[in-house]
């Protein structure tokens, strides 16, 4: 057996059928049943458990797709390539794709029958989803060529060694092994929980009730116009008459947001005078996303932020976040930074909110990727003819943005990264090379959807994601340490 290197950090895995890419020829219910059986093959041999969920965010999402379907492994119609899967990781990690052009069989087939057993192929692909690579042992489930499936299939030894080497054998409870064991029918134990709640999150219909019982207040829910000088006894009724009928929307909001809207509830209660009721239930208008936040509000916190892009330009480190950037020279961080990016590169769009990736080309020009466009600067000046679309570089039409770009010192080639894929860019030709994109798993340990990457003065490659970074070992093609280091302390000297 061969381990690819990535493995799941937890053993209670979830799986689901993709809500979009479902098989066009198969009964969905039966397909899910076969996939569950294929997962059970691995569950019986290890500590892993698999729970089907109804979400595209499951650890393992199963899809049926045709030809080029947006990753680095296009299908080829019926025959030859049947399916593929991604090694463990976030996003697309662990997912399994099946060629929808294949003649999939849900039941064991007779030898003379055409078709491909979905169970056999799924069990193999889920081996990849768990971190196993192909094995050269004939008869092993992880042997790359389709071998059909024997009735009463049992996971071969080679595969069992592999999965137990990664996740450990299944823990069996002794009593469960005894076939004669019958659990004693014990009556269900009723547990009474006594909770003393002093929380402020009580259903709000009690809210009035509490007011009545605790305070001699003049509000009379029955007749808001006529103040009530004597507290009325606590009464339960579903909705106070002066309130609009709750809709699912308002009800939800009122339960979750109520404390903020009813200042007299919680820690401010009871000392504040009450606001006049009739309009306190009116929701405040949220600023529409198109309204730009006030400038000061989006200045990033230098010591507590992720980065949009990091680049070494003229030997100095530039770190970009939102509309701002920091500049770090040999003497450390320049004072007065962060400043607005457009103050140094004024050719960028006026309504710039952020940049996606920045790198200094071998010809010393500086490339800014913003959405689907490339802005090329000669020092601070926008080169004529720019911005240009990403397709100008040979990137696909469907690509919405570049996550990161760098010139990789290991082979002096330029690389672009986006989502789960990366491209090698030929600076002379001005286009990405034909046999790309490839899968990000090549860069072991960084996962998918990175924030930035750059080559520092020390000749090392650094990948950024969230508020941390990895130092990358170019020779071994993997991160030097699984755990990220915090970016702020290392790069910003916080």
């Amino acid at each position: 057996f061969a381990k690819q290197g990535e493995m799941w950090k937890h053993t209670n895995l979830t799986w689901s059928m993709s809500s979009r890419l479902i098989p066009s020829q198969l009964n969905l219910h039966e397909t899910r049943h076969v996939l569950a059986r294929a997962l059970d093959v691995w569950e019986q041999a290890s500590r892993l458990t698999f729970t089907e969920v109804n979400s595209d965010e499951a650890d393992i999402v199963v899809s049926f797709a045709r030809r080029n379907h947006g990753d680095a492994y296009p299908f080829d119609g019926r025959g030859s390539i049947l399916a593929h899967a991604f090694f463990p990781g976030s996003g697309r990690g662990g997912d399994a794709h099946f060629d929808d052009d294949e003649l999939w069989l849900l039941q064991p087939k007779n030898d003379d029958e055409e078709g491909t057993s979905l169970f056999a192929v799924a069990a193999h692909e889920f081996g990849h989803s768990l971190g196993l690579s192909h094995s050269s042992v004939k008869g092993a489930l992880m042997f790359p060529w389709y071998q059909g499936i024997q009735p009463n299939f049992v996971l071969p030894e080679d595969d069992r060694h592999g999965i137990q080497d990664m996740y450990g054998p299944k823990v069996k409870k002794k009593w469960a092994d005894n076939p004669n064991y019958r659990p004693i029918q014990t009556p269900p134990t009723t547990t009474t929980t006594t909770t003393t709640t002093t929380t402020t999150r009580r259903p709000y219909i009690h809210y009035h009730d509490r007011h009545h019982t605790n305070h001699r207040h003049d509000y009379n829910p029955r007749n808001p116009e006529k103040p009530n000088y004597y507290p009325t006894p606590p009464t339960y009724y579903p909705i106070p008459p002066h309130h609009p009928r709750p809709t699912p929307e308002t009800t939800t909001r009122s339960v979750t947001n109520r404390p903020a809207r009813y200042p007299n509830v919680g820690h401010e209660y009871p000392s504040h005078p009450r606001p006049n009721y009739p309009n306190h239930n009116v929701p405040k208008a949220k600023p529409s996303p198109t309204v730009r936040p006030t400038p000061s509000s989006d200045i990033p916190d230098t010591c507590n932020t992720s980065y949009d892009a990091v680049a070494l330009i003229r030997g100095e480190l530039f770190i970009f976040k939102n509309r701002y950037h920091w500049r770090i020279g040999s003497q450390g961080r320049y004072p007065q930074y962060p400043i607005e990016i457009s103050r140094m590169w004024s050719g960028l769009p006026k309504d710039l909110t952020h940049v996606d990736a920045v790198y200094e080309r071998p010809d010393k020009k500086i490339a800014f990727f913003v959405g689907r466009k490339l802005y090329l600067f000669d020092s601070q000046y926008l080169v004529r003819g720019y911005p240009k679309p990403l397709t100008h570089l040979g990137l696909p039409e469907s690509l919405e943005k570049i996550d990161a770009a760098m010139v990789w010192g290991h082979n002096d080639k330029t690389y672009f990264y986006s989502g789960t894929m990366y491209w090698k860019f030929d600076e002379e030709e001005g286009r990405v090379e034909l046999d790309y994109p490839r899968d990000m798993s090549m860069w072991k340990g960084v996962g998918y959807n990175i924030d930035s990457v750059f080559q520092w003065r020390d000749g090392k490659t650094y990948f950024f994601k969230g508020k941390g970074f990895w130092k990358f070992n170019d020779l071994h093609m993997r991160v030097e340490h699984e755990r990220q280091l915090p970016s702020a302390t290392f790069w910003m000297k916080c």
């Binding site: 492994y73 299908f75 389709y146």
Partner: protein, 100 residues
Amino acid sequence: APARTRTARNTKHNINEKTVKNYLETFGYLEKGQLEVGNLLMGDMAQSYEDDFRIAIKTLQQFGGIPVTGEIDAATKQLMRQRRCGRPDRELHEGGRHKR
């Protein structure tokens, strides 16, 4: 461009050197793009690329459990026609072999 011919449509079953090269590259036995450069070079350089090609075939034959000959023989063609998983058998390094 010349009209597609029936033989073109059957290329998946007629296995020629180009098909083999694609197969070897797709499943990780040969670094992509390596042979183009080889064709440009002359003399012993081209010879060493031939060696790479042969080594790749041998590796495929060994992995697939068929006789290791280094040739695109019948058993190798049969193996390449078999249905299989789309993942590469060997994860090539991006920074891999430097072009000679």
